[in-house]
Amino acid sequence: MKTKIQHEAMLGVLIALEVALFSFTGRNFLSIDNFSECVRLSAEIGLLALALTPVLITGGIDLSVGSMMGFCAVVFGAMWHDAHFPIGIALLLTLVMGLLGGALNAVMIAHLDVSPLLVTLGTYSLFRGLADGITGGARSYSGLPAGFLYLGQGYLGGVVPTQTLILVPAIAAFWLLLHHSIVGRGLYAIGHSAEGARYAAVPVVRRLALVYLLSGLCSAIAGIVYVARLGQAKSDAGTGYELIAITTVVLGGTSITGGAGTIPGTLMGLAAIVLLQSGLRLSAWPAELAGISAGALLILTIVLQRLVRPQTIQPYAANAKPRPRMTVAARLVTVACIAVVLIALIGNWVHRSRLVQTGAETNAAGKRRVTIGVMPKSKGDPYFISCRTGAEKAAASLNVDMIWDGPTSLDASKQNEVIEGWITRRVDAISAAVENAASISTVLRKARAQGIKVVAWDADAQPDARDYFINQATNQAIGYTLLDEAARVVHEKGEFAIITGALTAANQNLWISFIKERLTKYPNMKLVSIRPSDDDRDKAFSEAQTISKVHPGVSVMIVISAPAVPGAAEAVKQYGRKDLVVIGLSLPNLCKPYVHDGEIEAVVLWNTENLGYLAVSAPAALVRGTFPVGKPAFDGGILGTLKIEGSEIILGAPMIFRKDNIDAFDF
C-alpha cells in the first residue's frame, strides 16, 4: 500500500509542477476552454491506456491497439459508406470487429501460450496492413452524419466535450473490474505468478483471454471516437498511439512486469502527459520537447520507484503488519502539492493582470504585436523546412510573432490538436498547410467563429473553413507538368513508373490521379507500377532498383516525395543506366548533384521560400486590416503583386528546375 501512495503522490507533485510552470509560460493554460480540450484529446489515449492497464498487470503487452484503431476506422467507414448499413449497425459491427481482433490476440496468447509481445507485434502489422489493403491506402470515408460527428466534436451543455460520455463509464468499468471484483484480484495474481494463480484456482486462460478481448473492444471504441473527432475514417488512424498509451500506463505506476498497477495511477499518468503536451503548445515551445520530456519522465519515475521501493515487494506484507493509511512523507507531499497549486493560481492571476496591462499599453501606442500560428504538414520534411526560412523572413520584416508548430510526421489528428491549442491560446491568425481537408475544417471553422483569421497554404481546407487559400500551384498543374516533362523526355512513348510517399498520403494521391488523367493525352505512354517510399530515402533507393529490374522497359520514373527523389536518382546512378531518368518533385538543393550528372532530368516545384513568406504576410495583412478584400491583386511585398482569384491568392505556376537554371536557386 505504501508504495502505491508514494507513486501517486509523486505523480501528483509532477502534475502540480506542470500546472505551476505552464500557468506562467502558457497563455490561457488555466482556462475552462483548455481544460475541455485536454479532456477531448485524452479520450482516445485514455481508452487505450485503460485497456492496457489490466493487460500490463497480467504481465502482458498489446502493441496492436493503435493498428486496431486504424482497422476499425476503415471497417466502420466501409460498412457505412460502401455497404450502406445504418450508422448504428455499422457501429455495432465495428465493435464486434474489435472483439474479433482482440479474440485473435487472445487465442494465440491465452490458449496457445505464445508471447504477447510477439503475437501483438504480428497483429500490429496485420491490422494496419488490412486497413491499408481494404482502402488501397488512399481512400478515406468522410461526410459522416452530424449526429455521429457530435460524438467527437460536440459539447454537452456547451462546455463538456461529448467524449466524457464514453470516457467516464469506461473509467468506472475498469475501476470496478480491477479494484472491486474477484476477476480483478485474479489478474494481479496472474501478474505475480501465473503458475501460482492457477494453483489458487484462478482460471488463468480465461482471464488472460478477457483482458485481450477488452483491449480489442476498447481499441475499436477509440477508433470510432477518433473517426468522430476528425470527421473521416482513414487507414492511418491511431498510428503511434500504442507507444503513447503504454508510456501513459507505465508512467502511472503500472509495473511492466505485471502484478502491480491501478486505474487512478493510469489516470494520473494520462493527466501528466496530456497537460505536458498542451502546456508546451500553449507556451509555444517546440513540440519535440514533449517527446523528450515524456521519455525522461518515464525513466525518472521508474528510477525513483526503484530507489524508494525495496527490491522485492512482499505483496501481503501490508496485511501482516498494518500501516497507517498515509505515512508522514505522503502527507507532506500532499500538502506540498496543494501549496504548489495555490501558488500557481495566485501567480497566474498576478501574471495575467500584468499581461492585460502590457497589452493595453501596446494598443495605446497604436501598433499591436500580431501573433500568427503557422503550421507545416510535417516539421521534419525538408520541403517545409525551406518554407520556414521564408516564413521567418516575413515574420522578422513585418514585425510579427510567429509560432511555427505542427506534427513531426504527416498526421492529420495532430494538426487538429495543435490548432485547438492555438485557439485556446488566442492567436490572431492561423496559417495552416492542410494535411486533410475533411478532418481539419471543423476546427478551422471554430477558429473563425472566434474571430481568428484563417489562411490555408500548400493544400486547401474546405472553402468555408478559411478566409483565403494561398495557391502555390494547383494539384492539377503539378500532375500535368510532371507527366508533360516525362513525356517530353521519352518522346511521348514508352513505359514509366511512379514512386510516391506513403500510400496513404492525400496530396500525392491527388497528383497521381491527375497524372493518370493527363495520360489520355499520351496514348503511347504506359504507367506500369506505383511504389511507396514512405518518405524514406533508403526505401526509395531499393524501390527504384527493383522497378528498373522488374520493368526493364521503364525509361522514366516520376518521383513525388522530396526525400525519395535523391534516393531514386542514386539508384539510377549506381546502375549506370543512361536510358533511365528521374522526374522529381523535390527541393533543388537535394537534387543538384544528380541534375548536373543527368540522372534527374527535371525537378518540378514552386519557390518554397516565397510560399513560406506569403503564409505569414497574407494573414498578417488580414489581421491588420491592410488586406485588399474584394480586389484582384495583393501587394506581396518582396514578392511583387500577386493575383487574387475569388478567395485564392495565386503564387504562380510551378517552376521547372533543369541543369541550366537550378544553380540560381538555394532552397
Binding site: 496457445l112 505464445v114 503475437v119 497483429t123 491499408d132 525538408p382 524514406d536 526525400p563
Partner: protein, 318 residues
C-alpha cells in the same frame, strides 16, 4: 545445438517456398544484380538483427536501435564533412553506438528498469532530439571519399558485404565457442542460476546492450557510405524489422535460446519478401498485411511445435 537450429525450420520452409515460387514465376529474381542489391539493402538489418538476437537471448528487448542508427549515421556524416581521416569513420560510428547502447545497458542492468521501458524512452528521446537539432536538414556535399570509402562502387559494395558477413561469422563462431558469449545464454535461461554459477549477470546484460549499440553503429556506417549524403531520419522501423527477423528465425522471445543462423535465415526471408512481391506483381497495398501474416504464421508454427513437445514431455500445462 542441433535443437536450436531446428527451431528455424518454419522460416526455412517459408524461404524455400518463396524462392521456389520465384524460380517458376519470376526467374529474373535470380539475376546476380538483384541478389547483390538485396544483400546490400539488408546488410544493416543483418548486423542489427544479430545484436538483437543476443539481446533477446539474454531475455531483454531493444526498440531504440532505429533511433541509434539515425544518430550514428549523422555522426558519420558530420565527421566526413569535417574531412576527418577515413579510418576514423568506422571507429567513431562504433564508439558512438557503443556509448549509446551502454546507456541503455546501464539503465537496464544497474538501475533495473525493464528494457522495454528504457529503450522506449531512449527511442523517443533520440528521435525527437535529432529532429530538434537537425531540423530535418540532411548532411549534403560530402567529400568524394565518403561514398564507398572512396573505393569506387564495385569494390565498395564488395567491401560492405564482405565485412558484414565476416563480422556475422565471427559473432556466430563466438556464440558457439566462447564461454563469455555462452554466459549470455545462461543468463537468459535462468539469471538466478547463472549468478549462483558465478556468472556476473548484470555485467553480461550491460555488455549485450553495449554490443548491440556497437553493431548498430557499424550498420549505420556501412549503410551511410552507400549514398552520397546522409538524411536526418534514417532507420525508421528498423527495430521492428530486426525483431521480426530474429523471431521468424526461431529465437524464442522468452530468452535463453536462439541461434544466429536462424536469424540469418530470418533476415533473408524478411528482406526478400518486399522485392519478391514486386516481381510477383502483388499490389504494394497488401505488403504490410503479408509481412504481418508471415510473422504470425512463424509464431503459430512455433506454438504448435511447442504444444507437441509439451504433450511428449508432459510438462506444465499453462
Amino acid at each position: 545445438m542441433k535443437l536450436q537450429l531446428v527451431r528455424a525450420w518454419p522460416a526455412l520452409i517459408a524461404l524455400a517456398t518463396l524462392y521456389i515460387c520465384l524460380a517458376f514465376a519470376a526467374p529474373a529474381f535470380y539475376a546476380p544484380d538483384n541478389l547483390r542489391d538485396i544483400a546490400l539493402a539488408n546488410v544493416a538489418d543483418l548486423l542489427v538483427a544479430t545484436g538483437m538476437t543476443m539481446v533477446i537471448v539474454v531475455g531483454q528487448i531493444d526498440i531504440s536501435v532505429g533511433a541509434l542508427f539515425a544518430v550514428c549515421g549523422l555522426i558519420c556524416g558530420t565527421l566526413a564533412k569535417l574531412e576527418e581521416p577515413r579510418l576514423l569513420l568506422p571507429l567513431a560510428a562504433a564508439a558512438a553506438g557503443t556509448v549509446l547502447g551502454a546507456m541503455n545497458g546501464a539503465l537496464v542492468s544497474f538501475v533495473r528498469v525493464p528494457s522495454i521501458v528504457v529503450t522506449l524512452a531512449t527511442m523517443v528521446t533520440w528521435r525527437e532530439a535529432l529532429r530538434w537539432i537537425t531540423n530535418g536538414a540532411w548532411i549534403e556535399g560530402l567529400p568524394r571519399t565518403f561514398q564507398w570509402f572512396g573505393l569506387g562502387q564495385r569494390s565498395g559494395e564488395a567491401l560492405i558485404i564482405v565485412s558484414a558477413l565476416v563480422l556475422f561469422a565471427a559473432l556466430w563462431w563466438a556464440s558457439r565457442n566462447l564461454s563469455a558469449v555462452r554466459a549470455i545464454y545462461a543468463t537468459g535461461s535462468d539469471a538466478e542460476a547463472a549468478r549462483l554459477a558465478g556468472i556476473p549477470t548484470k555485467l553480461i546484460v550491460f555488455w549485450v546492450f553495449a554490443v548491440m549499440g556497437t553493431l548498430t553503429g557499424i550498420a549505420a556506417m556501412l549503410n551511410a557510405v552507400r549514398f552520397s549524403d546522409v538524411p536526418a531520419n534514417s532507420g525508421i522501423n528498423l527495430e521492428l524489422k530486426a525483431i521480426a527477423a530474429v523471431v521468424v528465425g526461431g529465437t524464442p522471445i522468452t530468452g535463453g535460446r536462439g541461434d544466429l543462423v536462424g536469424t540469418l535465415i530470418g533476415v533473408i526471408l524478411m528482406g526478400s519478401i518486399g522485392p519478391a512481391l514486386v516481381y510477383l506483381g502483388v499490389s504494394p497495398h497488401w505488403e504490410k498485411a503479408a509481412q504481418g501474416a508471415i510473422i504470425l504464421s512463424a509464431v503459430l508454427l512455433d506454438a504448435i511445435r511447442r504444444w507437441r513437445d509439451r504433450r511428449v514431455i508432459f510438462a506444465r500445462s499453462l
